[in-house]
Point group: C2
Chain length 276, copies 2
């Protein structure tokens, strides 16, 4: 399995603090040492850094951790390989251009039989089921909408439908971005925290590091961080329900819906589970 | 205008020496300070680093210059903006997936009227004529060949035709890669050097740096570097003809052809020019 990290904010924000926690899990506090990657959007542009090395030993991760790239939308992934060798081509986040925007995708889980599904306009370069699933999802979107729908509700409904369908095949925790929105699907494990004024201190779970956000923010800042497991020990993170789909923009939750539970888990209705 | 740098080799090779020369031209020994980028292929995977800052001041460039990423195929570009603002989205090399491979593209020049041409399956994210031209070229390739032609000669003939057509619109010095091949088109200015055994010393033109390649190579290594202007002062670089198209693979020239000269320059037959 892998771990995911996402950030959505209404001001360009650096992710050095959170990434410092995450990269420890890539070989030190966690077993996800089969590569890592991170995508930073800057307007419509996107910089993606990939490294097939363990993040805890990666010179690139060390550089990213200490060099503050500011962004309103970030996606990161540390990998524990299941399907597909440890190679650059299999390192998340994956990226494709659709309707003149860069879409990026990071996935945690396995998706049984996805590679038997026909593809349309997007093809994988590597051998992971994750990249295949991303290509399948974008192929479906492009086949359905020749141009990006002006009404966002059409698009998010379709994305939710496709991610829910992927989730039927196994485990499908997903962060996906289109340069403005962060689309989130929780299959088994994802948490989020929204930080806003008054900002306080936070302490990492995986490294000896504390930050006082009040020293780095203004009163109007809104920053949401999502992660497979909470990254800090003194803050309250909200766990997503299995089957929950969210759309975030500039740090704010724009849409949230509960998909149908998987038939596999239908005896445990996730709607009845309490958020911790 | 901009400057281009490409490398093709039969063994994974670092480009720290050449890139040290090139980045000086991004604000110090040259005026190309509107961003820079570099793509390194590792097998089918590709890492692209983009920075809208002047390369000479870029912390990322400093990191790349000192951290040896080894690759058999590299493309780099330093930008002097003509069309499109100085922004991440307008920073070369551009990349798209076609037929399950990452294609990358770096361009020097201006292409009059290209944005009036209809596109097919690829759309620009930024506002440069270069990215538009790349999307146009890939759209044409995908429309012509549903899958990658098994006979490489069909593909290279089509690429040559498309690049020659772009060249009719202005200046079109291009480096384009598909993870194995480096496609090169010279409109006005491009040079190359092939280094092979016995390897010697080289001294940069733009920085006080000398390297003894014999200390870093084996007798079978074959490394070709292409650049807008030669990067070293004590080696003999070969200048491409205007209209010349080349295909390189693993350091070796696989194909070379002279396209028709532009009507604008038809009074000066480039075939009669001597290579320097």
């Amino acid at each position: 399995m892998c771990e995911l990290l996402g950030m959505t904010a209404n001001v360009p924000t650096d992710i050095c603090f959170s990434i410092t926690g995450l990269i420890q899990r890539g070989g030190k506090t966690g077993p996800h040492k089969d590569g890592w990657g991170i995508a930073f959007y800057e307007g419509a542009g996107c910089r993606i850094f990939h490294d097939p090395q363990a993040s805890v030993d990666s010179k690139l991760a060390e550089w990213i951790r200490t060099f503050p790239i500011k962004s309103k939308l970030v996606l990161s992934h540390i990998r524990k390989a299941n399907r597909g060798k440890v190679e650059l081509k299999n390192t998340h986040p994956f990226s494709r251009e659709l309707w003149g925007s860069y879409w990026t995708f990071a996935h945690n889980g396995q998706l049984k039989g996805i590679k038997k599904e026909p593809l349309g306009d997007f093809f994988p370069v590597g051998t992971t089921d994750s990249e295949y699933a991303f290509c399948w999802l974008l192929s479906k979107l492009k086949a359905k909408f020749r141009n990006r729908p002006k009404d966002e509700s059409f698009l998010r409904k379709e994305i939710q439908k496709l991610l829910t369908s992927l989730n039927q095949r196994g485990v499908c925790n997903v962060l996906m971005a289109d340069s403005k929105h962060l689309y989130v699907f929780c299959s088994t494990k994802l948490s989020f925290i929204t930080r806003r004024s008054p900002f306080g201190k936070a302490r990492l779970l995986d490294a000896d590091m504390t930050i006082d956000f009040s020293e780095h923010t203004t009163p109007n800042d809104l920053v949401t961080v999502l992660a497979t497991r909470p990254l800090t020990e003194n803050e309250t993170w909200t766990q997503l329900f299995p089957g929950e789909f969210q759309v975030w923009k500039e740090g704010a939750l724009m849409y949230q819906a509960q998909s149908e539970a998987k038939s596999l888990t239908s005896n445990k209705n996730p709607r009845k589970e309490k958020r911790k």
